[in-house]
């Protein structure tokens, strides 16, 4: 049934946005982390999204080839990369990680930027939930077809 693919697409969207929210939370939580296992301050992480045609069974593939239609496009997190912007130097001579001049390399995380991304991700998540519910509603009315005839 084709509704399955619509539902899968919405689920992929929700999963991707959840991953984004997780990464943004990580960035905010580490906004003043100056020590990491790799050395140096924490670097902001970015989620990269990509559109992929969803995994299909042989039958679905055959049917879509017949119709020359490939309607469902899922979204996938293809990687979490690091922001290459330079660390922000803050003058704090008393800090144990301060250099000789008294500057501490702080993470390149901008809280405002993260909050905007967080809002965007949570709205996108909601949009996907709405899409999921709409599809579910359609499937439900198809199931009720013929009832109370």
């Amino acid at each position: 049934m084709s509704f399955q693919s619509s539902l899968n697409v919405s689920v992929s969207g929700m999963a991707a946005q959840r991953q984004r929210v997780n990464t943004i939370s990580e960035n905010i939580a580490n906004a003043s982390t100056t020590r990491t296992p790799e050395g140096g301050p924490y670097r902001r992480r970015i989620v990269t999204l990509a559109a992929v045609s969803n995994d299909r069974t042989f039958e679905e593939e055959l049917r879509s080839q017949q119709r020359s239609l490939d309607t469902a496009t899922e979204v996938k997190v293809v990687g979490i990369s690091q922001d290459n912007r330079a660390p922000i130097l803050r003058y704090e001579p008393g800090h144990p990680d301060a250099n000789k001049e008294g500057y501490v390399a702080m993470p390149n995380v901008n809280i405002m930027e993260e909050m905007v991304s967080l809002m965007e991700a949570s709205r996108s998540y909601e949009a996907n939930t709405a899409a999921f519910n709409a599809t579910k509603n359609m499937a439900q009315s198809a199931l009720d077809l013929g009832r109370n005839v």
Partner: protein, 176 residues
């Protein structure tokens, strides 16, 4: 039980007098074409094909719209949509007989539009007039509106189909 009963009736008829048998034969010949015409009008109606096609297209369109929403933040993703109203309408008119007269179902009748069963939907790029800086053309508000419309129209088609079934049932139960 019912079938046995009918078979029993038939036997009675066939075994009855010659004048009764001939009269029933005449009435059958006379009424058979009318009955078949009535039946084909009831079950081979293109309303069912039309609704089936509409439901099919709306399901596929739902796929496209959910994909657009899921890929709202994917860089470079191009929003897509599907149109089918025009081609369905055209095919509906093509259900009327063509210019050429046919005496066999395998004759060409001069129609140049495909029958309803073969109508395909067209996929189009539904680009937002204000694409994002990353080349993404999804306009979320528009997609949500389209999805709501798609859902409503799907449910409306389902309702129409239910009504068709109800009418059939009325005919089958002789209005009781």
């Amino acid at each position: 039980m019912q079938a046995d009963h009918a078979g029993y009736n038939n036997q009675i008829h066939s075994k009855s007098g010659p004048e009764i048998a001939s009269s029933s034969q005449i009435s059958l010949v006379e009424y058979y074409p009318k009955i078949s015409g009535f039946m084909s009008g009831m079950f081979e109606n293109n309303i069912f094909t039309l609704i089936q096609k509409t439901l099919d297209f709306r399901t596929q369109r739902q796929d496209l719209l959910t994909s657009n929403i899921a890929n709202k933040d994917t860089p470079g993703y191009k929003a897509e949509d599907m149109v089918f109203a025009k081609s369905l309408e055209k095919a509906l008119h093509a259900e009327e007989p063509g210019l050429l007269k046919t005496t066999n179902s395998r004759h060409f009748d001069g129609r140049n539009t495909p029958p309803l069963e073969l109508v395909q939907a067209q996929r189009i790029h539904s680009a937002s007039p204000f694409p994002d800086f990353d080349g993404n053309t999804v306009d979320l508000d528009r997609e949500m509106a389209k999805m709501a419309e798609n859902q409503l129209m799907y449910n409306a088609s389902i309702k129409m189909l239910t009504h068709q079934f109800r009418m059939l049932k009325t005919a089958i139960t002789e209005g009781r």
